[in-house]
């Protein structure tokens, strides 16, 4: 089973952080191990997931999409219906309960799309913890709605103006905060990334998606699906739905990376398809970097996928071939977003739209007898402005803007 005690997933993962943080990571690893074995902790988390977050989330038969792709049965795991509108709440409730158990009074988080920030602000409000969210300045503009949501929930949102002003820089700033405040502060990382134990712990908290989905598919169809498809930013919704299916070797696990303008243009966020192995944010993994090991800036219309790295367990699944990764560019994702809205009446997050676009291709490849589970990781309310600009749906007031490049 992965990871090993040092947090390695094969040659990936580990802990590449300053010595000052090592004690905190050891403390967190130990606290997590104890909590996970403590029935009281598990019961409290399960209770919150059921009565507060709205789990289990449904599995929806997407009949009209099935028709659209030529017959393959498309089933949607509806994380968009979880409280706060995405899968991020699963991880955050776990980590914030753990933070409280460890006696931490303050929680910090990074956020790209704002969904992880909103989820963290929500859990902190619920549990009475102080909350500070770092967000790249560029993202505070394209996800302005979520900035307001976090502030309404009582969190302090700090726009980060360093570097590329996106998710990777928000992570840098959160790490700088943490090293100085670690005594009373927990860093609630939002994906299956960072130094050990985060990739393992976040995966475990997100595993509920796959556990439910697997049981729901078996119950609904009487067999396992042929493929499970998810979008991959850091990779938490994908790891969460993949993990319980890993022993089911007949189930194809397919991650969709954000292709931006296309991998060939260099303006993308596809760490596996267009990156190489290296170290970033405390982990060894695939990342976008130049020949000198400097991180390259990623590009995606989706703020939540706009990250130059990927969780280390995905790097391993890619190398062993247990999962495969494909690229979905901005245009394909936006077309999928529109199609899902019109055929199923579900406005999905642009992140999730990448999974849908990938799943449509997989459905055509596998043919009409296949069953495919798509992880609908979040809802698209936060993306209405971006989508309206992309499709030119704004009338006069926004008309001038609508003509501009929607990718900003």
């Amino acid at each position: 089973m992965f990871p090993d005690p040092g947090g390695h997933f094969g040659r990936f993962g580990g802990r590449f952080v300053p010595e000052a943080l090592m004690a905190a990571l050891d403390e967190l690893t130990e606290a997590y191990d104890q909590a996970r074995a403590d029935e009281g902790f598990v019961a409290e988390l399960d209770g919150l997931l059921a009565t507060y977050a709205g789990r289990p989330t449904p599995l929806t038969d997407a009949h009209r999409l099935t028709e659209h792709v030529g017959g393959a049965r498309i089933l949607l795991k509806r994380e968009d219906l979880a409280h706060t509108g995405s899968h991020k709440i699963n991880n955050v409730l776990g980590q914030c309960l753990l933070a409280r158990r460890m006696g931490k009074t303050r929680v910090i988080a990074e956020t790209g799309a704002g969904q992880h920030g909103v989820a963290t602000a929500t859990a902190c409000a619920l549990l009475g913890l102080e909350c500070v969210v770092y967000m790249g300045e560029e993202d505070t503009r394209r996800q302005a709605l979520n900035v307001a949501r976090m502030r309404l929930l009582g969190a302090e949102v700090v726009p980060v103006t360093a570097g590329s002003r996106t998710l990777k820089d928000a992570i840098n700033e959160a790490m700088r905060d943490w090293v100085a405040t670690v005594e009373h502060t927990h860093y609630c990382i939002g994906s299956v990334m960072g130094p050990h134990p985060f990739p393992m712990m976040v995966r475990d908290f997100q595993r509920i998606i796959g556990v439910e989905a697997r049981a729901q598919v078996l119950d609904r169809t009487g067999r396992l699906p042929d493929a499970v498809v998810a979008c991959v930013g850091g990779g938490s919704n994908a790891m969460g739905i993949f993990h319980p299916f890993i022993p089911d070797t007949g189930v194809a696990l397919i991650g969709c990376e954000a292709g931006g303008d296309g991998v060939a243009t260099g303006r993308h966020a596809a760490a596996i398809a267009g990156g190489s192995a290296g170290v970033l944010h405390g982990m060894r993994t695939f990342l976008l970097q130049d020949e000198f090991g400097q991180t390259q800036v990623s590009h995606s219309i989706s703020a939540g996928l706009d990250y130059p790295g990927i969780g280390p367990e995905h790097a391993l699944l890619h190398e062993t071939g247990r999962a495969s990764y494909r690229v979905v560019d901005d245009a394909a994702a936006m077309a999928a977003l529109a199609l899902v809205a019109r055929t199923e009446g579900i406005l999905v997050a642009i992140e999730s739209a990448h999974a849908f676009a990938g799943a449509f291709d997989v459905a055509r490849e596998l043919g009409p007898d296949a069953t495919i589970v798509v992880n609908c990781s979040g809802r698209g309310d936060k993306d209405v402005d971006t989508a309206a600009r992309w499709f030119g749906l704004l009338d006069d007031a926004g008309g001038a803007d609508a003509a501009a490049d929607p990718r900003g």
Binding site: G6, G14, R15, F16, V17, P18, E19, A20, L21, M22, A23, A24, A162, G163, K168, D169, I171, N172, M175, R176, V179, A180, V182, E183, G278, V279, L280, H281, G282, Q289, E291, F292, G293, Q294, T295
Partner: protein
């Protein structure tokens, strides 16, 4: 065999003083400008030079070093430029080490980087985000090329972790004076003396203290309990301020020399902090 760092620390111990270790990033304001600045530091009394390798994601640095590194990268500085800088600075006779995040070495190839660093006359490298658990390839490469691998301890380090770090460090041990990123502080952390004492309980290696030291008085205070006093942001800030105010290179080097001289005086006049 004694390395150049070993020799310098031994000599300083005999003189009853601490060594002054000065950090500047390569490539700021330009590659040649940084070389001139490092040489000016040495001329003014800096004993050991840390050549910073500018990195895109400096999670352990405060705003001053971030800004300088950012500007250096925008100016196109490369790993080869860093090695050229080491060569030019080591030629002054001052032991010269590279201070770098791990990924640039990882990408260059640890064995190749060690070979090229040694060929440039470098004494070793400080690698703050490379933990002992992941250090095997770098330790082997350093040993093969006679380089001193320098690792860090922090106030939060357990005694067991301090033993782990001192067990693999060569040249000196870098003690982070406080929990935080680089940058000047009003006062040097009180945790520093305590940490140095805990390190000394595990090793004969010299201990240098860094983070937060910016004045001659602070240097004197740290010199009372540490073998080395490391100064970074305060020196970088002289260059950043000169760049912003449009002062010429001569004025910048002048200011840098004055601060280095003040710090050099401090490490020669240790003052025990009043308890």
């Amino acid at each position: 065999m004694q390395s150049r760092l070993d020799e310098r620390f031994t000599a300083a111990r005999e003189e009853g003083r601490s060594l002054l270790v000065g950090y500047l990033p390569a490539g700021y304001p330009t590659v040649d400008g940084a070389i001139a600045a490092m040489r000016a530091m040495v001329a003014a009394g800096v004993d050991v030079v840390e050549v910073g390798l500018p990195y895109s994601d400096p999670t352990m640095d405060g705003p001053v070093i971030q800004d300088a590194a950012d500007a250096a990268l925008r100016g196109g500085v490369t790993t080869a430029d860093v090695l050229r800088t080491v060569e030019a600075v080591a030629a002054t006779g001052a032991p010269t080490v590279v201070m770098t995040y791990w990924n640039p070495i990882d990408r260059y190839g640890p064995a190749r980087f060690a070979a090229d660093l040694a060929a440039a006359g470098g004494s070793g490298a400080i690698t703050p985000d490379l933990p002992p658990e992941e250090a095997a390839p770098w330790l082997a490469a350093s040993a093969e090329h006679g380089l001193d691998p320098v690792f860090l301890v922090a106030p939060s380090s357990s005694d067991a972790r301090i033993r782990l770090v001192t067990g693999i460090s060569r040249g000196f041990v870098y003690a982070a004076s406080l929990m935080g990123v680089t940058g000047a502080r009003v006062a040097v952390g009180t945790q520093a003396a305590d940490l140095v004492a805990r390190v000394r309980a595990t090793t004969e290696l010299p201990v240098a203290v860094g983070l937060g030291v910016s004045t001659g008085a602070q240097a004197a205070e740290v010199a009372a309990f540490a073998d080395g006093v490391i100064v970074g942001s305060a020196l970088v800030k002289v260059l950043v301020d000169a760049q912003r105010s449009g002062a010429g290179e001569a004025a910048a080097l002048d200011g840098l020399g004055r601060l280095a001289a003040e710090l050099a005086e401090g490490v020669r006049a240790p003052v025990s902090a009043s308890a």
